[in-house]
């Protein structure tokens, strides 16, 4: 899949515009939440980033499946890049989530927030993905191992979520209550714009990363051919 310059530029432009529009809407136009006030606005950045992280891991698992199916080596790089971005978005989710916890409940971490706990588990899981990749020689073996692991990750997401919900019964009593995202119409519009912005950001960064990595690989081949 070689990218024409047009597509990459278009993607980057779309991502930038959506991001600026989304953030502007979130900070200025969105109505103030009755209960939480200004601090609710962090939702517009925290939840889209979380959903984008899931999308990254899902995309990575899809590419992994394609690799195992067709055994074409290009899917390894695509899967790896997606997981890499997923981890970055995951870290951002944890950081913004932590800030939100500080705002809402005055603590930097709380176990009673299911999404955050789930992301912590996933963060550990995908960090181990990188440890796996770094300790195997590059080649089809590493590609296969990474692909299988990425698939396990995606299976782990719903199972972990269920586990965390079940764990609440005996670990901590759910002290902090939180309103679900009951968003009014205009809030929902802003949320959707921000979500589209984050997804577009992922798509754009993914495309760039992939091109960069492919260039790396081709230059290495060229070097070997010349030396």
């Amino acid at each position: 899949m070689s990218l024409s310059n047009n597509r990459a530029v278009l993607l980057a432009a779309a991502a930038s515009m959506l991001l600026v529009a989304g953030l502007a809407l979130a900070l200025f136009w969105a109505p103030e939440d009755a209960d939480q006030g200004f601090s609710q606005r962090i939702f517009y950045i925290h939840v889209p980033i979380a959903l984008t992280a899931y999308a990254c891991f899902g995309w990575g698992a899809w590419k992994a499946l394609r690799l195992l199916w067709t055994r074409e080596s290009r899917y390894d790089l695509e899967s790896y890049t997606a997981v890499h971005m997923g981890l970055i978005f995951g870290i951002l989710t944890l950081v913004t989530g932590s800030i939100w916890a500080k705002i809402s409940w005055g603590v930097w971490w709380t176990w009673s927030e299911r999404q955050l706990t789930l992301f912590l588990v996933l963060f550990l899981f995908y960090c181990a993905y990188f440890m796996l990749r770094f300790s195997v020689e590059p080649g089809p073996r590493r590609a296969n191992l990474s692909a299988v692991y990425a698939l396990f990750g995606v299976a782990l997401i719903p199972v972990s979520f269920l586990a965390i919900r079940l764990a609440e019964n005996f670990i901590h009593p759910v002290v902090f209550t939180r309103d679900g995202p009951q968003m009014s119409g205009s809030m929902f519009v802003v949320f959707c714009v921000c979500l589209a912005a984050m997804l577009a950001l992922f798509a754009s960064l993914y495309t760039n990363e992939l091109t960069g990595k492919r260039l790396d690989a081709r230059l290495r081949e060229l070097r070997e051919a010349l030396e």
């Binding site: 962090i42 951002l92 800030i99 960069g212 790396d216």
Partner: protein, 50 residues
């Protein structure tokens, strides 16, 4: 600014910082790629001359 406003702004700034960090890292990568292409072009030209 109230405390909550400060924290919300901090969250948005963190996201911005990560995106800008990415830009910086990418610039490094591009300059490295540029250098490699220059080296390889030289190698190729030397080969052609030889």
């Amino acid at each position: 600014m109230t405390t909550s406003e400060k924290y919300v702004t901090a969250a948005y700034l963190v996201v911005l910082a990560v995106i800008l960090l990415y830009v910086v890292l990418y610039t490094f990568k591009l300059s490295r790629l540029e250098r490699e292409v220059a080296e390889l072009t030289e190698l190729a030209q030397r080969r052609k001359a030889a």
